[in-house]
């Protein structure tokens, strides 16, 4: 999993475009998903991710481009003949059938003998930890049980790719956390390629081998969860994934992979992943948990762990249990969010008192300013 690009490719999208009237839902998307990979497409609603999923499963055809599954072009192949299976957002379990008949459906469509169906359904019920549930009615199941039945129903036809359309959206928070682990575990056991779409970055980061972040029909960035989180390549990714503080300024010097940005808060030094040259407008991003906050804002105050220091006033402190969140207002009026772990040694400045926010040049990066 260290380098999924090297693995066999199961699903390949080549410059896929889909338009509805004059709206371009998907604009020239290209991506490869490796065999056995857990691949997520993350984006806000309306970004085109559902359209991509429906194109892969065959419910809509792309206007341009090609979709290949296992190397085979899929144009004109109807959903019932594709080696894919889709877990619907609201699961779409057949309400008039019991659990057994739901799971057996795909095999019956393939003309498998009832005897073999019985053994395979039983095996799938074991896989999802619901042995003996065959005769239950769908409406007798809990939310989590429904999820698992839907997964079993799809997996039993042994698809090359399992497509999941935000299946955890309808669950409550606790169950969602649990199902995340469960999904990941099931994927591990069966080894099927998963393509998972979601607008929830927590789900995408926690489960995926790789994540594609989408906005307005285009892919902004594809990478491992860590790459997406730590090294966003576009402003959209920086804003959309996780929380971020952004400070606008002008680059004044570039040296050794670092860039110096002149901002109203002073000069800041940070990473330069997009190789900005001097004299450009740029944004410096730094995540709240990478910041530290110390009392006092006189120029002489010590700034631990960082080359960069921003002076201001601690406006508010939110005690959230595992972490403490702070809001610091800088001299220019800009607010900075700071999150520090709630460990015994944390000493907080007084609310309303002077404070200095510091961070290292390694933890911040500059991106060219443009449309977010």
């Amino acid at each position: 999993m260290s380098d999924p690009h090297r693995r066999d490719v199961d699903v390949e999208l080549v410059n896929v475009t889909k338009r509805y009237h004059d709206i371009t839902a998907v604009a020239g998307v290209a991506l490869d998903v490796g065999r056995g990979e857990f691949f997520s497409i993350l984006g806000p609603s309306g970004c085109g991710k559902t359209t991509i999923l429906r194109m892969i499963s065959g419910f809509i055809d792309p206007d341009e481009g090609e979709i290949l599954i296992g190397g085979r072009p899929m144009r004109g192949v109807p959903p019932n003949r594709r080696p894919t299976s889709l877990i619907f957002q609201h699961l779409a379990l057949f309400p008039l059938m019991n659990v057994y008949d739901n799971i057996a459906f795909g095999l019956r469509m393939r003309g498998v003998s009832e005897r073999e169906i019985a053994t395979r359904v039983a095996a799938k019920l074991d896989l999802i930890n619901l042995p003996g549930y065959g005769s239950k009615r769908v409406d007798e199941l809990s939310g989590g049980e429904k999820q698992r039945v839907a997964i079993a129903r799809s997996l039993i036809i042994e698809p090359t790719v399992l497509l999941l359309d935000e299946p955890l959206g309808a669950l409550d928070l606790k169950l969602r956390e649990h199902m995340k682990e469960e999904l990941k575990a099931i994927q591990h056991r069966v080894g099927t390629t998963f393509i998972y779409i979601t607008h929830d970055q927590g789900e995408a980061l926690a489960m995926s081998d790789r994540v594609a972040v989408m906005s307005r029909g285009r892919i902004e960035q594809i990478g491992t969860p860590a790459e997406i989180y730590e090294q966003p390549q576009t402003q959209f990714v920086a804003y959309f994934v996780g929380e971020n503080n952004a400070i606008a300024g002008r680059t004044v010097a570039v040296e050794d992979g670092r860039v110096v940005v002149e901002t109203p808060e002073g000069r800041l030094v940070c990473r330069n992943p997009e190789r900005l040259e001097a004299g450009r407008q740029g944004l410096v991003f730094v995540r709240p948990e990478k910041l530290r906050c110390v009392a006092g804002n006189e120029p002489g105050v010590e700034t631990p762990g960082g080359a960069n220091a921003l002076r201001g006033t601690l406006e508010e402190v939110f005690y959230e249990g595992p972490v403490v969140r702070m809001r610091v207002r800088l001299a220019s009026g800009r607010q900075m969010a700071v999150v520090v772990p709630n460990v015994g040694t944390t000493v907080l400045p007084a609310v309303g008192g002077p404070a200095t926010v510091t961070f290292s040049s390694e933890d911040a990066y500059a991106l060219p300013e443009g449309e977010p």
Binding site: S57, F59, P78, P79, N80, R81, T84, S85, L86, F88, Q89, H90, A92, L93, F94, P95, L96, F105, G106, M109, R110, R153, S154, I157
Partner: protein
């Protein structure tokens, strides 16, 4: 407080009078079916069941009942497929002329029955089809299919299409998905529509009257008999007719509530 009391009394009085207005005429019909008098009139001359016995001995009446059942079943067999497939067409698809088709299939609901009857009489006659039970079936189907359409589309609109897509995704052809998933979902509505269609057919006079030719159905036979003169047998058959239609009506109400349409 007195104003409230007055409102209550007025309400009860109005409901009471209204119900009397609805039921007294029907009670008169029913009571005179049991009166031992050669004319359906008061005074009361004692209880008898002879008028009911007379029904069984009247071959015309029995034939009419038989025809009504036959026509009703045929109308169900025709109007259910017409109404249900058209519901699929109108609920599921967009196509040119959809608005016009929608207006046309619902137009029988607001067209006097005689017009349907007369126009089809003319058309069938021009084709050389003689008026009779088959033409009556076609005539009734023309508007009963509209009721079927309304009942079926109400349920179809509630259907979650991702169920059909899930079936396709699992390997079913689109047609199989409809047969295995959508039709079972529509079943309560179709059952309700069957009973409604049968009841409407069993009850129909206006359209049938023009298309039945020399044959009869129960309403036509009752009409003809009344025109010949009053007789307590008419009361007896009316009571039977009331019991049958009210039973059918009750079951449609129950079935439609269950089907959620």
């Amino acid at each position: 407080m007195t104003a409230r009391w007055l409102a209550r009394v007025t309400t009860l009085l109005y409901v009471g009078i209204f119900l009397l207005y609805l039921y007294v005429p029907l009670a008169v019909v029913a009571a005179l079916a049991f009166n031992d008098s050669a004319m359906p009139q008061f005074p009361w001359r004692g209880l008898t069941l002879q008028w009911f016995a007379a029904i069984v001995q009247d071959p015309l009446l029995l034939r009419a009942v038989g025809n009504s059942v036959l026509v009703g079943l045929a109308v169900v067999a025709l109007s259910i497929p017409l109404g249900v497939t058209t519901a699929f067409l109108l609920v599921r698809y967009r196509f040119p002329g959809k608005g016009l088709l929608y207006a046309l299939v619902l137009s029988p609901l607001v067209t006097p029955g005689v017009i349907l009857g007369v126009s089809m009489l003319i058309f069938f006659d021009s084709l050389g089809l003689r008026a009779g039970l088959p033409t009556a079936v076609l005539g009734q189907t023309s508007f009963i299919a509209s009721f079927v359409l309304l009942i079926a589309s109400a349920r179809l609109q509630k259907f979650d299409r991702s169920l059909e897509e899930a079936a396709q995704d699992l390997g079913a052809t689109p047609l199989r998905a409809v047969l295995l998933i959508t039709l079972p979902y529509l079943r309560p509505a179709i059952v309700a529509a069957c009973v409604v269609a049968f009841l409407l057919s069993f009850d129909n006079f206006n359209t049938t009257f023009f298309l039945i030719g020399n044959d009869t159905t129960l309403p036509i036979q009752i009409y003809t008999t009344v025109r010949l003169g009053l007789s307590p047998t008419i009361n007896a058959i009316s009571v039977v007719f009331i019991v049958l239609t009210v039973a059918l009506g009750m079951s449609t109400e129950f079935l439609r509530r269950r089907a959620g349409t």
